[in-house]
Symmetry: C2
Subunit: 158 residues, 2 copies
DNA sequence: TAATTCTTGACTAAATTACTGGGGAAATGA
DNA sequence: TCATTTCCCCAGTAATTTAGTCAAGAATTA
């Protein structure tokens, strides 16, 4: 799970789509203009999103993109995965023998951490983000929530 | 908050330091060999870690690096921030006028999401990672924990 | 048919990552 | 003092990724 500006572009565009989708379709040119992103670059990202079934494109006048399924069914992790191509990143290709015993031990550590992040992002849907935005106060709620949730982690429960 | 392989190198090295630190110092060459990373590259990362006070280097024979403070006091987010130089990433430099009204609205969305990830990573200390690794079963515990915690998010509480 | 919009592919510039190499400076031990 | 070990700092560079351009074409609507 990587978290780059590329993924951010994709998430932004998808949230835009979720935010402005009142049943109709939205042209890429619109999204590109709204966020001042190169349209051709967005096209590349949407090609990947399309291949993953996250969006649905229709051509011709009045055409555009739609969410491939309900916003509640699309997680932020889905979007990031679609454009990021997860480049293996393990350096030893999953084999547990990169260097001595301990080499891949720390691999495991990283992957465990990384999978926690993934699970977290998988739990946040586009709808959640939209709702959170509309609510306004939500970030504080989340902040509180995280605080209560996170303390057992550092207090030696594990 | 970006999450690249660069940050992963740094976290791996720091966890190695936390794992093998029995009071003494550890030479960079050791860490480099253990994880098969270019030593000079690690030197660059450690220069950044040093500037942030996360590690403490001593020269001469028997020298090496030490954690700058207790492993419980160093979060994964600290490590990533130290090497990542957080390149602004807002594209409009904080100003709320990049394009019309809605441009920076979605900015807010992203930044809120990004800050949630940051808070999550801030809650995980090196000690936590080490403990989790030693426990072995911990990842499953975490998985369960996340599941109970995450459901209110998607069930319309917000 | 003409306009619109997605779709695809090739190509390029800029930035970042990962790495190399060299020349020190401080500490230690002989 | 001198050699060795280690951090420390800087300059450069190849590979990769990001971000963007350009052009041709397919499907749809009016």
């Amino acid at each position: 799970m990587r978290l780059t500006t590329k993924g951010r572009y994709a998430v932004t565009a998808m949230v835009d789509l979720a935010l402005n989708s009142t049943g109709g379709r939205i042209a890429l040119a619109e999204i590109a203009a709204r966020h001042d992103i190169s349209q051709s670059y967005l096209e590349q990202l949407f090609a990947a999103l399309r291949r993953s079934g996250l969006v649905d494109g229709t051509r011709g006048p009045g055409g555009g993109y739609q969410l491939g399924r309900a916003g509640a069914e699309i997680s932020v992790a889905d979007v990031i995965d679609a454009v990021d191509e997860s480049v293996d990143a393990t350096r030893c290709g999953g084999k547990r023998n990169c260097r001595g015993d301990q080499g891949c031990l720390t691999h495991d550590l990283w992957e465990s951490l990384s999978s926690q992040i993934r699970q977290f992002l998988s739990s946040v849907s586009l709808e959640t983000v939209v709702k959170q935005h509309r609510a306004g106060t939500a970030p504080q709620v989340l902040h509180k929530w995280l605080k209560t949730v996170v303390s057992p982690l550092n207090s030696g429960v594990l």
